[in-house]
Symmetry: C2
């Protein structure tokens, strides 16, 4: 049997809306037999002939199985190629009982449909040229997006901003590759069709652009998955209270909408559209010892993963002691690429806030009372400020997929080989081989180059019905 990935002869069906009970649910059917199947099962009210229904027109009627009504439904035809998959598609909007949803799927399957595999509708859209591979991946990212920035990145990628640029670069490189291969055909005559200076220019432009994209991944990845934040400090300094205070402030905003569970916001906090992922440093939190002495490498490992560290201490601690502790801590972790923010807690116990503190430790210090929820909004603002560059960048082309990141690095490597080759005046054969490698890696991003395994990996991540 063929790999199901390429099985596009079948007519497939799946639930398109979330599993469960709702007011309505939508079932999607796609494939060559869609219309024949629905013509038999769907009976529009008002004696309308199914074949006479125009594309994109919503029609009310009954879905009948052997004259027995399965449900009263709204049916919409999307005639190829003007559909999501590029095939004939029908969307059935039915009553949202789980029983009815099952029944309609059963009836469709009894009439020749196959249940769609995960991502199979989008796979067909890709195979039918409705979108390239990077756009298809963005659909999955869009569905998984949980913050304004991850949503913006996915949305831009889905609209094709990134793909278009990659395709343009690839097309230019392809021209050169073709010329160099042409030289090979005339190798006896020692001609040079491909202008080496122009090739070097293109290689330079591409390297600069690819390097920018590769560098954007660090930001893209954290914007997509949440910026890692660690709250650390000695026991009883109030870390849990602070975490609760931070989450409580925001919780009300989120739980306005029914169905948002506490689970999803306990780890990730979205402030003004940017998600912050709080790293669990429980080992450190529960330790009876000071951070300098705990010696648990695993906890340090977690701290190293953080982009932002909130270092918490008791505001009443003597300033020299803090200074010493922080200096030691900074030596232990490489904090060059991190933002270290000090949180002086328990200001409710102080008579006045020590003004000269900042000069001592040379780090931004926020004075708060986690218990009384005083100045908690300052922490949110500071977290946001720490990534303000990133939020802007989300409006540029940002690489947020590790697959694209890997492919860009491989492309850059091959281009550097080409660059060296031109300088060293190597043979057209070698140049051509490196150019082909670069074209290959670049092509995997948009799906001009692809294979079963790659497609399987990408579409396997999708939910069924998309």
């Amino acid at each position: 049997m063929n790999s199901p990935i390429y099985q596009t002869e079948d007519t497939i069906c799946a639930l398109a809306t979330p599993a469960g009970t709702g007011a309505i649910a939508v079932i999607r059917v796609s494939g060559t037999k869609t219309y024949a199947m629905l013509e038999k099962l769907f009976h529009p009210y008002g004696n309308i002939d199914f074949s006479a229904i125009e594309s994109h027109k919503v029609v009310l009627g009954q879905l009948l199985e052997k004259d027995k009504p399965v449900d009263e439904v709204l049916v919409t035809k999307f005639t190829n190629p003007h559909s999501y998959t590029g095939e004939d598609v029908v969307e059935i909007s039915c009553h949202g009982s789980w029983f009815i949803q099952q029944e309609i799927l059963r009836v469709l399957m009894d009439n020749g449909c196959r249940m769609a595999s995960p991502g199979e509708f989008t796979l067909r859209a890709f195979l039918n040229g409705k979108m390239d591979l990077s756009q298809a991946e963005a659909v999955a990212d869009l569905i998984a997006s949980n913050s304004a920035t991850s949503h913006t990145i996915a949305f831009r990628q889905m609209r094709g901003h990134f793909s278009k640029r990659i395709q343009q670069l690839r097309a230019q490189l392809l021209d050169f590759a073709a010329l160099i291969e042409l030289e090979l055909d005339f190798s006896e005559e020692d001609v040079e069709f491909a202008n080496r200076d122009k090739l070097i220019d293109l290689l330079d432009t591409m390297s600069t652009e690819l390097t920018q994209l590769i560098e954007s991944f660090a930001m893209g990845n954290v914007l997509k998955n949440g910026i890692p934040v660690a709250i650390i400090g000695k026991p009883n300094v109030g870390k849990s209270t602070l975490l609760n205070a931070i989450f409580n402030e925001e919780k009300a905003l989120v739980s306005d909408i029914p169905g948002t569970t506490r689970d999803t916001i306990e780890d990730v906090l979205v402030i003004d559209g940017v998600s912050f992922r709080f790293i669990d440093t429980a080992g450190l939190r529960d330790s009876d010892d000071t951070i300098e002495n705990m010696g648990i490498e695993r906890t340090y490992e977690k701290i190293r993963q953080a982009s932002i560290i909130l270092y918490m201490f008791d505001a009443g601690t003597p300033q020299e002691e803090i200074n010493e502790t922080i200096t030691e801590f900074r030596e232990k972790i490489d904090d060059n690429d991190k933002r270290l923010i000090l949180i002086a807690n328990k200001i409710d116990l102080l008579e006045e806030i020590p003004h000269n503190f900042k000069n001592l430790v040379e780090l931004e210090t926020l004075f708060v009372s986690a218990k009384r929820k005083e100045n908690i909004n300052m922490i949110n603002e500071t977290l946001l400020k720490s990534v303000s560059v990133g939020v802007e960048e989300a409006n540029q082309s940002v690489v947020a997929s590790s697959r694209h990141y890997q492919a860009l690095i491989e492309t850059l490597k091959s281009l550097e080989m080409v660059h060296q080759g031109v300088h060293q005046n190597v043979s057209g054969d070698l140049l051509s081989s490196d150019l082909r490698a670069a074209l290959h890696h670049l092509g995997t991003i948009t799906g001009e180059i692809t294979n079963d395994e790659l497609l399987g990996n990408i579409f396997g991540r999708f939910c069924i019905g998309k």
Copy 2:
């Protein structure tokens, strides 16, 4: 402030599809400002003017908030009165990320929408005369339906079969009431506009019909909520093993469809479209004592709720002992309206099945091995046979709502008063008062008579978005 129940000036929005993440989600907007709002927010591709989009036509475009894309969506206008609510409605089909769903709802609310209360779309459909109250209730039942019979009952009720008959009967009664009230206006003249013989005829017809409907409730209620089945018997007779065997046989069928949880089938088993609700008689099951001696009234109470009792015993028990036990048991429970079926378990331990058994106890006896899953299908068939009449009845008008049941009983009572009154030749005043009471109760079923509290009770049961 007015009761939100009648607040129909607002434009409302809600998620129509189940909460969660899916390929797509649908958000519904209804009210006078729907089109003005969407004209501002929705930007169709291809420079189409929003106002030029015809009703029921699906259009692709972007939902923008201050030029920033919120999502790429499909939008469908349903122009009043050709919509679910009878108002201007727009359905927005968006990417199924929970974040996007929240965002779109937020944008709609920021632009003047109010989040719909539970059932508010259907309430508006009722207030705008798109359906009567009994049909509206059927929508909620349809969404909650979990078997073919509960689905059939709700579907028929939604299509209006039951309402139409109730309305016809009420209209006929209303004619008589009007004539009798006319007599009151001419009371000085002692005229008789309303023919008393014809009234008696109508009352007889109505009483017969109402009685049938009232009687159908016992069946309608169990078909809707599941036919209660109790498995009882001495400890270690194999009740749990049997329950597992019964559920395992059917489980495979149900779990074909992803998302069906074990929870939903542990208590209710659907055989050929009919649901059986297995009553927990744990107290009895765990008892170390025999059923005759357990004396726990609560357990007997549960047994009394059952329509079908599966009485289980060890097939090796001496037949006289069984006979005695069963006779005693039948004396303790009133089994006139119940079906008592004997299950002789552990036939795997017997050399041969005692053929003369049935004659002894005069009850259908099934010989099974729960452990080896032998003859389990016989139990399913017997359960189904026990309600075969009921399944047929589901195709008739069946009362499945306790609210309707109560209203029918009250109507019948009032009609009997009218009947008596006519025979006793009471004054038109008294007749008229009883007729009005009957008309009132009958009117509450279809919603010709209604009030805030009634509507609140009914639509409060709905999910948000319907």
